[in-house]
């Protein structure tokens, strides 16, 4: 393993310090328990998210006006602890209440639930939503359920805009749930990710093979397959998404082509090109595009596609101003 780090156990703290230095105009770092908060406390509903580190810019990169009020980074690939969300809720939450945005992993759900219980016990208004957009996993009572992956950035943007314009906790939660109900993702990897504390890649793939349906922690996917040209890989990703999310002709979607961290931008745009083409062949309208590294898995090579069926309200909220380290427009 080669990494530009000091001690593995200091990775998250030091990275947060660097982040806070670089974005002092936007955020404040709270060191213990660790969370990153908007510099100016939001007037309306406060969105708080968090999760294991190693997926940057998620979530810290999305703290700011029109998106998250605070982000709680856990250790690498480890969900944060309840103390973090509790402290963040006390800091950024106000009369309008707090909405927790949880990615559906056993650990995340349990830690956020504990945090919500503790916060409610202290008199805070707290609601939560759980995103599970990864169609790679069968959603059944026999598994931990679908994972929350790159769709999270679409969720945080749209719900964040609703909060920013002063919608009520109930309304923000409702739009968040509408996004969750309408977004699907699927990823693939050419190589694994190396967790600093583990020191070696979490999986290795033989030359000439890729893993279809990969999770953002290197959880295995549906199957290992011989590598194909980019256009066919895109079809292999979109097929299960479109099977799961029935879309009528002329419907509008937001398309996110998301890099896993180690994939050159050239490759992301090659994939995006085909994804747009395929969706348009199906008679869909790609109303908004997002391409880049938004929900990563350290140095993993691979990408995911996310499709959100977007109604006018979602498109309006998507276009609303946002000012964060990783997503910025209109502000």
């Amino acid at each position: 393993m080669k990494k530009i780090i000091n001690a593995p156990q200091n990775v998250v703290r030091e990275a947060c310090e660097g982040f806070a230095l670089a974005h002092a105009d936007l955020v404040t770092l709270h060191p213990e328990p660790l969370f990153i908060a908007r510099r100016e406390k939001p007037a309306g509903v406060a969105l708080i998210s968090g999760g294991g580190s190693g997926h940057e810019p998620l979530h810290s990169g999305f703290v700011g006006r029109g998106m998250l009020a605070a982000a709680c980074p856990g250790e690498v690939f480890t969900s944060p602890v309840p103390d973090q969300m509790l402290a963040a809720a006390k800091e950024v939450g106000g009369e309008a209440g707090v909405l927790l945005i949880i990615k559906n992993y056993t650990g995340d759900v349990m830690n956020f639930e504990l945090a919500a219980e503790l916060a409610q016990a202290e008199g805070l208004r707290v609601e939560s939503v759980t995103i599970d957009d990864d169609v790679a996993v069968q959603d059944s009572t026999w598994t931990a359920g679908r994972r929350g992956v790159a769709g999270t950035v679409l969720l945080e943007k749209i719900a964040g805009a609703a909060a920013e314009e002063g919608q009520s906790l109930e309304a923000v939660k409702a739009i968040a749930e509408r996004v969750i109900a309408n977004v699907r993702s699927m990823g693939l990897a050419l190589s694994g990710a190396t967790v600093p504390a583990a020191g070696k890649p979490n999986f290795t793939l033989p030359d000439g093979e890729y893993e279809l349906g990969i999770g953002i922690h290197g959880e295995p996917g549906r199957e290992r397959l011989p590598l194909r040209p980019a256009d066919e890989l895109v079809e292999a990703l979109l097929e299960p998404i479109l099977n799961d999310l029935p879309l009528a002709e002329n419907e509008s979607v937001i398309l996110l082509t998301n890099g896993m961290g180690g994939t050159p931008q050239l490759e992301l745009y090659i994939a995006h090109r085909r994804a747009v083409g395929l969706l348009e062949e199906r008679g869909l309208r790609v109303a908004r595009h997002l391409v880049g590294n938004f929900v990563t898995s350290l140095d993993m090579q691979g990408l995911s596609l996310s499709v959100l069926r977007a109604d006018d309200e979602m498109l309006r909220l998507w276009d609303a101003p946002v000012h964060t380290a990783a997503l910025r427009w209109g502000a």
């Binding site: 294991g52 250790e75 690939f77 480890t78 969900s79 650990g107 830690n111 026999w142 959880e219």
Partner: protein, 206 residues
Amino acid sequence: MSEMSGLTTEQAKALFERFRELIDSHAAELTELDAAIGDADHGSGMQRGAQAAAEAIASADTPAAVFKAAAMSFISKVGGASGPLYGTAFLRAAGVQPQAAEWSAEDLRAALHAGYDGLKQRGGAEPGDKTMLDAWQPALDALDSGGDLQAAAQAAAQGRNATADLIARKGRASYLGERARGHIDPGAASSALLFQALAESAGGPA
């Protein structure tokens, strides 16, 4: 078969000190198990928790206070699935005899049962789902059928080994389906260490 022992405050502290040692010496192994079917963080997470617990219990003066301090350490320091799970188990265990200066064998057995129920409730899993429950449940069975803590530790170790034959239905390994078979569950492995620590700290005649 020797009688099951109870637990003094000192023994409760020795349990968590020993747990910390065992976790430290098995951390790489736990991480490797988690790398195979999870996300390679169980070793480092348990280290944070066991270390914090061993420190936090210093001033506790009842078994329940020890367990409660350990619970808060796991909840506050570990994260992931295992932090809230161990935290909940220890918290529930503490609740059974919150005041007693010392736990009888019966108190200890009841405390472990309460912890186990907390695990099930928090995680929603059942035995056979390839989780830490699969180490706890045989250990409790051993105690319920008259075994001592040594027997419980052995049963937990066997339960841990038997998880290799299972496919997972909860936690991160559940995404693997058939591919999880052949691998020992990391949480079952750390739970077996917990019962080993208990046997070594309180396993003598009470």
